[in-house]
């Protein structure tokens, strides 16, 4: 059965998709839709018929979003900035996770399995890359529907930022201190020297690898490839 509220909600989501319209813009269009529907139902149409005709008269959501994009530059940049900040936050927490797990993995590998501490760097680099790849893939899968329907409640967002900051602090400082204590407790001086040498090698390798990865990603996302609105 036709439910007007759901139909209107879906219609609004379609308009929101391109993120070129403000809430006030959409509200004004919704009022227009309802006025048009009133006039149509007065002529004897039912709600569903009236909704279909009224939304059609208002126009294709893609075309309307494009028209609004021409005047709402501020909105577009605000939305872009929003996602940039989210990106920075995510990158920060993901790399903290990766570094934390990589260091722990290298420590365990050397201490419990008895790997050569000099190889610690390779182990930690491998763990870092794997963890980052997994996290980014998971995020991509989760974020694609999110970005299309930007409906993150403010409270959730504030909570998430606080949680991420706290976790970030824990992973990169508190846990780091714990690791250092463990290393000091179990490693001999010679082992410690080899361990840190191995880690420096991998750090050097990764500092070349990451810029290459970003470059490839940027080339892939180069704006020229996406279809322009106008």
């Amino acid at each position: 059965m036709f439910q007007l509220e759901i139909a209107i909600e879906n219609w609004k989501q379609q308009l929101l998709q391109h993120q070129t319209m403000t809430a006030a813009d959409i509200e004004e269009l919704q009022i227009h839709l309802l006025e048009e529907m009133d006039a149509l139902t007065a002529t004897g149409l039912n709600q569903e018929e009236a909704f279909l005709i009224a939304s059609r008269r208002i126009g294709n959501p893609n075309d309307i979003s494009c028209e609004f994009a021409k005047i709402n530059h501020g909105v577009i940049w605000k939305n872009r900035f929003f996602w940039m900040i989210i990106g920075i936050l995510i990158l920060q927490i993901f790399s903290s996770c990766a570094v934390f797990l990589a260091r722990g993995g290298a420590l365990i590998g050397c201490q419990l399995i008895g790997w050569n501490p000099l190889n610690a760097g390779i182990i930690s680099a491998a763990i870092q890359i794997t963890v980052l790849l997994c996290l980014f893939t998971a995020f991509y899968i989760a974020a694609v529907p999110l970005s299309m329907f930007r409906k993150i409640p403010k409270k959730t967002l504030i909570g998430a930022i606080i949680a991420v900051t706290a976790l970030n602090f824990f992973l990169s400082h508190a846990a780091g201190m714990g690791y250092n204590l463990l290393i000091a407790r179990f490693f001999s001086v010679e082992q410690l020297g080899q361990f840190s040498r191995g880690c420096s090698y991998s750090a050097m390798g990764l500092s070349v690898l990451w810029p290459v990865v970003w470059l490839v990603l940027l080339l892939w996302l180069l704006p020229g490839k996406t279809q322009s609105a106008s």
């Binding site: 813009d25 006025e35 309307i64």
Partner: protein
């Protein structure tokens, strides 16, 4: 006869300003008035009206106010400002020139026929 999309887009601004010069109005009523004035030949895509209204507002030609109508529905009413009235005169002069030019060409052509 339907008016072409380009011509509708070009005439939208002077038409909106001129309708608002008659008195304040809101989106839905403006569309209805255009349809009535043109005898249904100028079919606007309703949604396209609002970006134009917002642009005119940011240019300071019109101003808006949200009020609750008699039916209890919130509506955004638009009103023309002084700069808007001045802009109508400029639009009129331009359209007059275009019309005169076309008329002259077409009259000359008629003489040759």
């Amino acid at each position: 006869m339907d008016i072409s999309k380009d011509l509708i887009a070009a005439s939208a601004t002077p038409l909106i300003l001129s309708i608002l010069a008659e008195g304040e109005s809101y989106g839905y009523a403006i569309i209805k008035q255009v349809t009535a004035l043109s005898g249904g030949t100028m079919q606007w895509t309703d949604g396209m009206l609002y970006p134009i209204l917002h642009r005119l507002e940011s240019q300071g030609l019109i101003e808006s106010e949200v009020r609750t109508s008699d039916t209890g529905r919130k509506r955004k009413y638009y009103r023309i400002r002084q700069d808007g009235t001045a802009a109508i005169a400029a639009h009129q002069a331009q359209w007059q020139t275009v019309y005169e030019t076309l008329r002259k060409v077409w009259e000359t052509k008629l003489c040759f026929n």
